[in-house]
């Protein structure tokens, strides 16, 4: 059985990754399990300068989901290079750096300052974060901007470029195609869904920033539909995520057309979930006599 997944010029050992923002830069979960068993880790978003993020509370629970408004809190490139890279250097799995910014220039800067690192195996371009005022979601909803940004970043690096899509658009396949024609090696979807929780006692949004990002099992059907739509619109590999809580959920994504998947919110509920998902995928492939991940894509859903 061959579990490898090729994204751009990189072979991930298996299709199971951990979603950006839910896994830090790997150190914390590294205390709980052997990260070399993963296909890839997708880091917390990185911006050129440190960001403190939004005010608290940044989290709230909703039916089968959570809202978050972290606001891209991250150490910035410099501290990333000094504090996080030494740890990442020791890892066996692919490391995909999630890149964010308020301007095109910021995305460019992150890539320019990190492209030399061997321990970074690729970039996930976060054009879809609902939790920052400038940039983020704005980039992600206009196909022209998506294509332009992707083109500019494409010139800077040979490493795989994965464009991360938001579900908060009229037609996600249009954005996916724009990323593809800009030169993306892959697209990942979905980022969080715009959502809001109001504290009726305080008569205020629970999360001070107001609208936040919904993730977790509540949005899994939205993610699967997005992957189904996108994988029929582009020919680059699609990475699926959103609400994966067990192997069966991940298999839904693969059958819908994903070549790889990411576990996000599910980690908070079951920190060893990525390993369980990987085992479950292997078992399923055995039972169904599948030899490679692309075998998932041969069914008429």
């Amino acid at each position: 059985m061959d579990l490898k997944v090729k994204i751009g010029n990189v072979d991930m050992p298996n299709p199971v990754g951990t979603a950006s923002g839910t896994f830090g830069f790997g150190e914390e979960y590294g205390e709980l399990f052997d990260l070399s068993k993963l296909g890839a880790i997708y880091t917390k978003a990185l911006t050129p300068t440190p960001r403190e993020g939004n005010s608290v509370p940044r989290l709230a629970e909703t039916p089968s989901g959570i809202l978050n408004s972290i606001g891209l809190a991250n150490p910035g490139v410099e501290k990333f290079l000094s504090d996080k890279v030494p740890f990442l250097k020791g890892l066996q799995c692919s490391v995909i750096l999630n890149v964010s910014g308020s301007t095109e220039q910021e995305y460019i800067e992150v890539i320019e300052k990190t492209d030399h690192l061997d321990c970074i195996n690729g970039y996930e371009i976060n054009i879809s974060c609902p939790n920052v005022k400038h940039g983020g979601l704005a980039f992600g909803t206009d196909p022209k901007q998506v294509e332009n940004l992707t083109k500019k970043l494409r010139r800077l690096s040979q490493k795989p470029l994965i464009v991360k899509l938001t579900p908060n658009v009229t037609d996600i396949s249009v954005i996916a195609k724009a990323a593809e024609s800009g030169g993306a090696d892959s697209v990942s979807c979905i980022n969080t869904v715009r959502g809001m929780l109001i504290d009726t006692k305080k008569k205020k949004s629970v999360i001070p920033a107001g609208i936040a990002g919904l993730s977790g099992p509540a949005i899994r059907p939205i993610g699967v539909a997005a992957v189904y739509t996108v994988s029929r619109a582009v020919s680059v590999p699609v990475i699926g995520l959103g609400g994966i809580m067990c192997a069966d959920d991940a298999i839904q994504y693969l059958l819908a057309g994903a070549s790889a998947i990411q576990v996000g919110t599910g980690l908070f509920v079951d920190p060893l979930l990525p390993l369980k998902v990987l085992d479950g995928i292997k078992e399923y492939m055995e039972e169904n006599k599948m030899n490679k991940i692309s075998d998932f894509h041969s069914f008429i859903i």
């Binding site: 509370p57 908070f268 920190p271």
Partner: protein, 261 residues
């Protein structure tokens, strides 16, 4: 820190809506007072997140551990219905502890004032016990709205304990800060440790500033990962880093580090 499974040894209702849960601590790292664990309350998807609780006791010989929790919502309602033998999915121990500060910064001090309020009672019972065992003189002060919320059955008779009730239905009438003020002469020579609702923590902090004692507080914040990865549980601290993670850099902070609002 490790994820492990453990059977419920016993679950007792110890005061209005307060429960004592005993279970075996099936992992090697020893949990200290102030540290916490998270429990997955259901295999289903609602309530979704693991729930954090501080340890209220740990016995290194029997490997028995306890938490005290208050039934406040869906997650704790599920826990309150656990039966002996049911399996708990536990992640812990998490965070830092009062003991870290006690040992590193206050090793020589004899008098320790341990202040607990509401659902903050659990970790403070454990801290008072630890202080007692290490030969210190803990004074435990427990604040409650009313007598029926005081977990009398779990109190250690060998520890000097003051109960404060807001309505005066038992012990000192008033809140714990009122009590501290009433005995400030004694207390100013002590180190103060607190866990409870934020107004109480704030009151203790400003009291400690007034009398010139050191004060440590355990904070609460909504948590997702509980291990420092998601940046969801930050609190505002003084100094260069505006936000600090409660789950990993805390939950215990020196009270002067915290930005009180």
């Amino acid at each position: 820190m490790e994820q492990f499974y453990s059977k419920v040894i016993s679950l007792k209702n110890i005061a209005d809506d307060y429960y004592l849960l005993d279970f075996r601590w099936n992992t090697d790292s020893i949990p200290r007072p102030g540290q916490f664990l998270t429990i997955r309350t259901t295999e289903l998807t609602s309530p979704l997140l693991r729930r954090p609780f501080a340890l209220s006791a740990y016995n290194g010989e029997t490997h028995m551990a306890s938490i005290i929790f208050q039934k406040v919502g869906n997650g704790t309602a599920i826990l309150a219905q656990l039966q002996e033998g049911d399996i708990l999915d536990i992640l812990g121990p998490l965070g830092n502890s009062f003991s870290d500060y006690r040992i590193s910064e206050n090793g020589n001090i004899t008098n320790h004032v341990v202040v607990a309020g509401g659902i903050g009672t659990g970790p403070m019972l454990y801290l008072a016990d630890e202080l007692k065992k290490t030969g210190k003189k803990p004074l435990l002060i427990i604040g409650s709205r009313t007598k029926s919320l005081v977990p009398f059955t779990v109190l250690n008779k060998e520890i000097e304990t003051i109960i404060c009730t807001d309505d005066g239905s038992f012990g000192f009438k008033g809140n714990v800060v009122d009590y501290l003020k009433s005995r400030s002469e004694l207390i100013k020579k002590s180190v103060i440790y607190c866990c409870g609702p934020e107004p109480m923590l704030k009151g203790c902090h400003f009291f400690s500033v007034d009398v010139g004692s050191k004060c440590y507080v355990s904070l609460e914040q909504m948590m997702a990962c509980g291990i420092g990865a998601c940046m969801g549980c930050t609190c505002e601290t003084e100094g260069k880093k505006k936000y600090t993670r409660v789950c990993k850099d805390g939950p215990v902070f020196e009270s002067s580090e915290v930005k009180w609002t």
